[in-house]
């Protein structure tokens, strides 16, 4: 299963930090976070503090310009060493993330992880954002990790590593997205062909059904059936009557 809010809070809450909530009901979120009700306060109440905090920011609908401004306002409340869990309705693969990264960077924060979320009725992913004094490596994906700052002294080396991985991941993502689009087009074309084949098959069945029906109502068929029915002497006696009935009926034009 994906991570629960309680797992994320355990992993990312700085030791002894207050938890501030924005955009969601305090009591319900305290329950989901596995925290006592009095450990959770509205995010606005954390304004101006210098102690590290954990913010739980609940996105109500789609990401918009207004929600981006709200996110930046919340991130500006975070002192160094603080973290934020931004809960989104989208699955991880559907997050419209570019503006989210811009908001974080504008406020001097780093996106350190994105995790699938479970156990919440309307939210499927969590973006973990931190404010630190220096660049830090992303967190081990899906793993529990101790809260606190991983100090990387060689910042240039870390930056070079990020840049190198980004170059290859980006080009491969482009290739994979193009391949996925080609495959989607092929699937659409195959579906279109299957639909056309199904329609053609149905039309052919209808034509054959009509042909059989026409055949069964023809004089020749009825005469043949009458003759084929003569297997016993009694049947032979009834043959003239049956033949007369078959010949009296109006034969279809196609006979």
């Amino acid at each position: 299963m994906a991570l629960r809010l309680a797992d994320l809070v355990v992993d990312h809450r700085p030791p002894g930090a207050m938890v501030g909530v924005s955009g969601g009901p305090l009591g319900e979120l305290a329950d989901l976070a596995g925290l006592p009700a009095d450990a959770v306060v509205p995010a606005e109440a954390l304004n101006g503090g210098s102690e590290p905090v954990l913010l739980v920011l609940v996105q109500a609908g789609e990401l918009t310009a207004a929600s981006g401004e709200g996110l930046e306002r919340d991130l500006s409340r975070m002192s160094t060493g603080s973290a934020a869990l931004f809960l989104l309705r989208d699955a991880v693969e559907d997050i419209s993330w570019p503006s989210l990264v811009s908001s974080a960077v504008r406020r001097g924060c780093q996106v350190v992880d994105v995790a699938p979320l479970s156990g919440m009725p309307a939210h499927r992913s969590a973006v973990i954002v931190r404010r630190d004094a220096a660049l830090r490596p992303p967190l081990a994906y899906l793993a529990a990790r101790p809260a606190g700052h991983v100090v990387v002294e060689d910042q240039l080396r870390l930056g070079l590593r990020f840049a190198g991985e980004l170059a290859f991941v980006s080009v491969q993502e482009r290739a994979l997205r193009a391949r996925a689009e080609r495959l989607a087009m092929e699937v659409d074309e195959l579906r279109r062909r299957v639909r056309a084949a199904e329609i053609s098959l149905a039309e052919q069945r209808e034509r054959e059904r009509a042909a059989v029906s026409a055949l069964k109502s023809s004089r020749s068929y009825r005469t043949g059936r009458a003759l084929a029915g003569v297997r016993r002497p009694a049947g032979l006696l009834r043959l003239p009557v049956r033949l007369a009935r078959a010949l009296r009926r109006q034969a279809p034009a196609r006979e």
Partner: protein
């Protein structure tokens, strides 16, 4: 040629393992020959638990961890990790081991390769190599193997290696060379990995350690 008298060469070790995987039953072939099959079953289960603990208890099949099992043998750990929802590539130099692995079930992507020669087109969140590196007897090949595995770990990812806990290099029999933690740490440091911690595998009075390294640059 082996570096030390009495030790098998790399080719000799590979032939030994290929024969052992073909000859010896399920878990003993890659496990401990001193134990019977059932005890090896416990040994493997305990180690799988320790491995999952080190990898983390999160799983998300819709966006899984990318994992490399380096030296998978008959695939016990690879199948166990894949069953937990992770995407696993599993490599081994022994064809008979891989055939045995494929017979026992799907899930991981099996491939024949040495540790030093595996060249994927992507990085992994977790690379693990259990009970293999002390069988890589030649120092040069051991070094190339460890460095290659380290290079496959993405930034923020984890490298997990096991070896006997020894203060300095020590030879066991004719096909095992145990190396100390220091040797591993020195080998991976230039590749940007740092030692995060070591923990015993937890089975009986074992001196086998899981060494964990994380990429920091």
């Amino acid at each position: 040629m082996s570096e030390q008298p009495g030790l098998l060469s790399s080719v000799g070790v590979r032939e030994y393992w290929d024969g052992r995987h073909a000859r010896v039953g399920d878990l003993r072939s890659g496990g401990n020959l001193a134990y019977d099959e059932a005890t090896n079953g416990i040994l493997y289960a305990v180690r799988l638990g320790r491995l999952l603990e080190l990898m983390g208890f999160g799983a998300a099949p819709e966006a899984p961890l990318d994992v490399l099992d380096a030296g998978c043998g008959k695939g016990y750990f690879a199948r166990g990790v894949a069953a937990c929802g992770h995407r696993v590539d599993a490599i081994d130099a022994s064809l008979s081991a891989l055939e045995g692995a494929a017979r026992r079930g799907s899930g991981p992507h099996w491939a024949q390769s040495t540790l030093a020669d595996w060249r994927p087109t992507h990085l992994y969140d977790v690379v693990y190599c259990i009970d293999v590196l002390f069988h890589v007897v030649e120092r040069e090949e051991w070094s190339r193997s460890v460095c290659n595995l380290a290079d496959l770990v993405r930034v923020g990812g984890t490298l997990i290696l096991t070896d006997v806990d020894v203060p300095s290099e020590r030879v066991f029999g004719n096909y095992q060379v145990a190396r100390p933690l220091r040797a591993y740490a020195e080998a991976v440091a230039p590749r940007g990995l740092v030692h995060v911690g070591s923990t015993p595998d937890g089975f009986r009075a074992t001196d086998m350690m899981f060494h964990v390294f994380g990429r920091r640059g």
